[in-house]
Symmetry: C2
Subunit: 332 residues, 2 copies
């Protein structure tokens, strides 16, 4: 087992449910005596800590040997508490809806109470990891020196919500899903989910100019199969739990900000480099522009790649080089 | 009944199937004695001639009172031969795959043999109608004086193919679809199809800036319901038949051009105004640019609207004004 766990007994969710939760996390490198060399990396949709490692993998431009990298698995990803690993009465489709805020509240306890860190050098993440990074920056400004949200947002856009809703509808159209109480994984629905999702992950130019070849994928159908395999590592209810979390991401959806998104952005004090993908079909540069305009210490730095959303995953050499440079700047 | 029919007995499809086909069409206005005032309008996905009328509806800028407008329904749309109205052995899922080329070959017989027209003043269409307009211009250059393809392409892009494949997967994930031999319409699958499709029809900005209100739609879910209702007017097998036709559109996929797309574009002699939607998520401006660069008498004129693909449907006042102006120029 390459990860540790942290228990949060009797956590009360934003939705008012109380249950025992557990976070799975991995440390890479040594925490310094002063506990001032920690970088927090949050996970993306359907990813686990092993996937997130692609974001901060060593490269000619990136040396994190003096840092301690903490990757915390998101709820619903099959390692931290999820529909698939939670006992009755919160198992499967009865697993409560957890927000990004719920995730970050638990992560904060792990980082501060358990690891004894009061200030993180950097909080970063790709996609849903970026949603969590924004929440960290907004809610715990004293604990975040710098942040690097990659291909994400501080608030999910309506169009992004809709694309996810379409993928969900494809999964649940399979009657073997049985409202989440399936006897076995709803294979046809999961395959449909992956096929719908594959259309959104990349860009039009990615397919037009066959950039998939650089990823070792031979053709269009190979791209679809790549997406299907990526998501089918996970349980169907787990996928839908994370999807709900994604759809409801909004740093201002709480009693403090009461939906005042501009005020919530203004509360982020960390130095930030916000990196949307120039060809991302759901986290758009236009949305990031708005965010950066209302964040006190933020810079907009789009990734110039045809790989769409995947530009920020660590798989894209262009995106990875841009991420490496940004990490160096923010921790330097 | 507001349309007429034209029979094509024993038509041999590009796929090698022989069957009796019927086209449904509507004439608006009088054909002149010289038969030189005809405008041909082709139908878009899931549309019928009544829907296409939005494209050439009279406006302060458009007077077609001296013209005869012929709208021909595409195969699969429920009026022309379709899975839902064709007798055994070609009924339902046994209806043969028909290409854009098959459609246009039959349309050509209707226009020339039956209506006695040797040259059309204008061939136009939105979306799949544009696919057919390109095929007309390429295959029958002597018969087409001018063409106006709106939010379409001469060859479907791989990304467009994939988005359609995702919507199809959502529909067919519903087990009541039963490989096309359903006892009743697969309602859950059709609803999922509409929800997936709704994410593609418009643009990110359409949702971000609530442009749906200008279409009389209150919120995101109303947009989804609009899309669902639009497609659920049709039979599931009919939707899939048209979808296959769309996915395989390519003016060069035939023995004459053998896949030489540039040569096929060069064979289009009509004066053309090619109108992609600037924010269209599947028929992109970049693809239209390539086409126009290889067509001898074509002009690229993107529609500047946030309505995405729907900008070219006739529903968008910005798009409709641009279409009206282009029609006037091309027939003037």
């Amino acid at each position: 087992m390459d990860y540790r766990t942290f228990d949060i007994p009797a956590f009360q969710t934003a939705g008012g449910v109380t249950l025992d939760l557990q976070l799975a996390y991995r440390l890479t490198g040594e925490l310094s005596a002063a506990r001032d060399n920690a970088i927090l990396v949050l996970t993306s949709y359907a990813a686990q800590h092993g996937d997130a490692a692609a974001l901060f993998a060593a490269s000619p431009a990136l040396d994190l040997s003096r840092y301690c990298v903490i990757v915390i698995n998101m709820f619903g990803n099959g390692l931290s508490s999820s529909p698939s690993n939670t006992p009755s009465p919160h198992d499967g489709p009865r697993f409560p809806a957890l927000t990004i805020r719920d995730n970050v509240a638990c992560q904060y306890r792990l980082v501060t109470e358990h690891l004894g860190i009061t200030r993180l050098r950097l909080v970063m993440g790709f996609s849903m990891g970026a949603l969590q990074a924004f929440e960290w920056g907004c809610r715990y400004p004293d604990a975040v020196a710098a942040m690097l949200p990659i291909c994400g947002a501080a608030r999910v856009s309506p169009h992004n919500y809709l694309f996810l809703d379409g993928a969900k509808a494809a999964l649940t159209a399979d009657q073997t899903f049985a409202a989440g109480d399936y006897a076995e994984q709803p294979r046809v629905g999961l395959l449909a989910f992956g096929r719908v999702y594959a259309g959104w992950m990349f860009s039009q130019a990615f397919f037009r100019d066959a950039h998939y070849r650089a990823l070792g994928l031979a053709d269009l159908e190979s791209v679809v199969q790549f997406a299907q395999a990526y998501f089918m590592r996970r349980d169907a209810n787990d996928l839908l739990a994370m999807l709900w979390t994604w759809q409801h991401a909004d740093i201002s959806a709480n009693t403090r900000f009461a939906g005042d998104f501009v005020a919530a952005l203004g509360a982020i004090r960390a130095r930030a480099i916000v990196m949307p993908g120039e060809t991302d079909l759901y986290f758009t540069v236009a949305d990031s522009e708005f965010e950066v305009a209302h964040m006190p210490h933020a810079e907009l730095r789009p990734i110039r790649s045809p790989l769409g959303h995947v530009a920020g995953s660590g798989m894209d050499p262009v995106g990875k080089a841009a991420i490496d440079a940004a990490i160096n700047e923010l921790i330097g």
